[in-house]
Amino acid sequence: MLKYIKDIITGAITLLEGMAITFKYMFQKPITLQYPEQKAQMTTRFRGRLVMPVDEEKGDNRCTACNICVKACPNYSIAVERLTDETGKPKPKAASFTYNMGTCMFCNLCVEVCPFSAIVMSEEYELAVYDRKSLIKDLVAEKYKLKGRKGKWWISKFKDEEQV
């Protein structure tokens, strides 16, 4: 009988403790990010989607169609076609860089192996589309311009970060 009463009282205390916590939180500021108006700030290393930024000095992308990224891609999401001159000799330039975002895992392996820093992961994250076909993009034709910072910042973006 005594245990019965004790159980009820200790139980009620744990319940009241919980209620005190929720009551306390009622007067705290909400943590919500009002999405379409406010947007999350992405970090430098954020892996949005693959882009091939235009090098402003060169006036063109830095790709040499060396196929290293194609070999590195675990999902075979990249296909590169080399540009040829009139005689049919291949030039160190990509005619097309087909990137399939539908199969991309955003693993960053292609960016890490690229010896020319031609490709980089952008900070975009609203990548949903209505049509599956528009997930396949030709990055050469896209002529992507990285926003925000100047010049060839992405080439040294990890070195510029403050280290421990």
Binding site: A12, I31, M105, E112, E162, V164
Partner: protein, 375 residues
Amino acid sequence: MAEKLPASLEKLNTEEYLLNMGPQHPSTHGVLRIILKLDGEVIKDVVPVMGYIHRGMEKMFENRKYDQIIPFTDRTDYLSAVNNNFAYVIGVEKLLGVVVPERAEYLRVILAELNRIMSHLLWLSAYGMDVGAFTPLLYIFREREEIIAMFELITGNRLTHNAFRLGGFKYDVPKTFFEKLEKFISHFADNLDEYETLLINNVIFKSRTVGVGVITKALALSYGVSGPSLRGSDIKMDVRRDTPYSAYSKFVFEIPTGKNGDTWDRCEVRMNEMRQSLSILQQAMQGFPQGDIMAKIPKIIKPPAGEVYTAVEGPRGEVGFYIISDGTEKPYRVKMRVPSFSNLSALKDMTVGFKIADVVAIMGSLDLVIPEIDR
């Protein structure tokens, strides 16, 4: 109801019926189907049906190069991507005979422990949902978001990090990471206590978990249950202690265990484990060494022929990779030992005789991740 009823009364007997729980059910945490045989609310039999998201990971591994496999391992157990990376990476490094620099080892430990906390936090919030408390989820997600932001700083991704490389890390740690980590450590313990008061010590929660889903020591071992679920049954099992890998032998930590092997013990073990992880994080942060972050590894990775089994202590239990190399660029066979697979196999012995509501509580306490089971 043991005695046989006369034929005329047979029709008055309660009917046992079958009920599908899943594949589309709010509390199966993924596409898992469980066929329950019920008598009223009481469970008579449990048959899990799996494979709804079987992707043939092991077959895929056989067709990828060694370094390309890492991002796939993220996607088996998406809640502990780092620990999956860890198990695979140390396996290949063992085959290659690579010694990873200390700085990388420490960073790996930090990431793995953060990942453990992150996974346990998600478990705690989802478990709150399972037992009907919605509010803890939103509090817990604040902390989880902090950890995700830290991962984003280092790896650039929020969930499937693809953080590790063979031989260490590709990039070094940014300074802001440690600032954030320090801030996180400073307030996390208090918040954890608060969640414990709000959820774990609540009398309703206790009445739903204490004595529910008991699994004995011997049975748990026989079923190959691992991780917090096994520790709940009072077995001091921890791969970090039993077969120390990476830098874990350098840290001091305890292995929390439960007493009765019931659902509440498993919950409490996870809560205490987060505290231990926090202490490991503190130690690792204080002793974080200088030096290289990447070992010298060949450009084309061709481990010598041989086989190795390496396991790490994931948030759910022992994550192991059994890798057979035949000396080529691609592994001959990779077998994943996933904790949820064995943990789920013990479900039947835990649940029979309890009620529908308990199935949810028990499954939640096992912390199942279905893609990991299906692979």
